[in-house]
Amino acid sequence: MEIMMGQGRLAIEKIVDPESFKENTIGESSFEDNEVGPGAVVGTAQIGDQDCTIIASDAMAMNERFPVVYAGIIGLEEGYKMAMAVYKTIEADKEKKGTEKRPILLIVDTPGNGPGKQEEIFGMNKSTGAYQLALAEARKAGHPIVAMVIGRAISGAFLCHGLQADRILSLSSKFETMIHVMPLTSVSVITKLDIERLEELSKTNPVFAAGPDFFYQLGGVEELVEEVDGMRSCILKHIAEIREMKAAGEEARLGPWGRGALGEQRGGRMIRGKVMAMMDKQFFAFAEQNLY
């Protein structure tokens, strides 16, 4: 079994057209200072017959200015670099029609956001928050965004680097992929339930347990990929589907909102829809009386 965790750069090679990846270049623009944000890998590759922006983490890189950044952690510099890669992508295609915008591929293998004092003083929440807004803007502008989980997709780091995509794919659990907020051991401490009990509960309720299968049931992952060599074709298939759906005005079936409906369809998130339907009804009654 070929484990991809920690090998973001190798994953890029396995997915894109041979030797097509140009790091630090997006459209006409290059990244002025290549040393900034070494934990983030950004650039342009060809996939099929199209330019594609690639954003990944480099688990081997250390950021000597920010010691909390290693092993794929997204730090202050990395978050802004990733956000900048998205804005440069939007800029590069701003003259193109919505249906012709280049895709963005997120290769996901990150254990977290930078957790330090300096990070809090300067506002780490802004850095990766900025990246999420940029991805949401690109998605709404028409760029197909696919996230491919190859290793770790953990909590806030997955929120920034993955969960704003149109579609999320993950290598299946046999590749030791990890998708969670906290491991079951930590959930056990918080809930004061032992691991055996939690494992039992997770068989019928995917809402807290760690792993790609549970996210699949909740609609948080669209498709599980069973072969490393299958990633490329699966990504290409989803890019084509996303393009078709956006062209047909079916954006509501994509992205975080689309995954909400998918979660219900797969029986994973059953109360979300009920809450929203009730609020719709209550707001309509309120609006009738008060707003018109």
């Binding site: 003083i121 300067f122 506002g123 780490m124 900025a130 803007e137 309720n205 707003l291």
Partner: protein, 318 residues
């Protein structure tokens, strides 16, 4: 619950989420959605032997400030730390979406919709982010909230209020950063990683989570005001938060957009300059940044009253 007039002088810090929600809009205008009488609660908590609340720790509804419909989200820190699960997450997402949809409807009926009628969203944060008992659903809800915030950009202003005991951390720290305007009190805290986790990662010598003064200096309202992460510092009363919110909402949408920290390439370039400052300054303490901003005696700012602080504190220009 106390009358609206009595709520106004109540401490924002001490108030409940529902008191904040009712008091932040005009008197008698608040209508709650999915409230306690609807008995919509988390189906996941009982499985874990955890108590439930019929509002799932989040008050959602709509009221008015002047002619504006104000969509209110108010988190309750007394219930599992204000954490976001499937139900509270769905309430938050839907409230923002209702505001966005109403704006769309109003503009389609009246293309030159006057500013004084433009809907807005007000979020009172009191949360550490995802609720671990239903962590996966909570995380997915966070992504939906961000998606809705981007939908509101340039159309429906979103104002964050942070003045609660729990503060605003974890995934909700991203959410607050992504809103248009942030109003804090000096008791509010905003960040990503909570103090205990920083201590765990860096060691007690670097960051002592039991040192409350240090914790407040690092993520508290005064620091966030100096560094520019919060736009206004309010006094610790519901009245002060309401009056500040009302004043902000008098401004046209284009001006409100200028209050943002992130959300465009230009804004990010400014933030990258701030990161460079962080590299050159290597602050051991927030006070190093305050001194850099031109506050000659940074320590004196810590115990100043709000009025003294606002009169004297110099803010950072990146």
């Amino acid at each position: 619950m106390a009358k609206w007039t009595e709520l106004q002088d109540k401490s924002f810090l001490e108030a409940t989420a529902r008191e904040r929600a009712v008091g932040i809009v005009d008197e008698g205008t608040f209508t709650e959605f999915c409230g306690p009488f609807d008995k919509i609660y988390s189906p996941h908590l009982p499985l874990m032997g955890e108590a439930i609340e019929y509002d799932d720790g989040l008050v959602a509804g709509v009221g008015k400030i002047g002619k504006k419909p104000i969509f209110v989200i108010s988190q309750e820190g007394r219930f599992i730390g204000g954490s976001i699960g499937e139900v509270s997450g769905a309430k938050m997402v839907k409230t923002i979406q209702l505001a966005s949809d109403l704006y769309e409807e109003m503009v389609s009926e009246k293309p030159d919709l006057p500013e004084e009628m433009r809907p807005a969203v007000v979020i009172s944060f009191e949360t550490g982010g995802v609720r671990l008992h239903e962590a996966n659903a909570g995380l997915l809800a966070h992504a939906e909230v961000m998606d809705q915030i981007q939908n509101c950009r340039g159309r429906v202003p979103i104002i964050s209020l942070i003045g609660s005991r729990v503060g605003c951390f974890g995934g909700m720290g991203f959410v607050a950063a992504a809103t248009d305007v942030i109003i804090m009190s000096q008791f509010g805290r905003l960040g990503l990683t909570g103090p205990e986790v920083i201590e765990q990662e860096m060691g007690k010598d670097e960051f002592d989570a039991s040192d409350r003064a240090l914790v407040y200096r690092t993520t508290g309202g005064k620091h966030k005001y100096i560094i520019g992460d919060c736009n206004y510092l309010a006094a610790d009363s519901i009245r002060s938060f309401r009056e500040t919110t009302t004043a902000v909402l008098q401004k046209p949408m284009e001006e409100i957009e200028t209050f943002r920290r992130i959300g465009s390439m230009e804004k990010i370039k400014e933030q990258i300059e701030l990161v460079k400052l962080s590299v050159s300054l290597k602050p051991k303490d927030s006070m190093d940044v305050w001194a850099h901003a031109g506050n000659e005696n940074p320590e004196s700012l810590i115990n100043m009253t709000l009025d003294e602080f606002l009169a004297q504190a110099k803010r950072l220009k990146a």
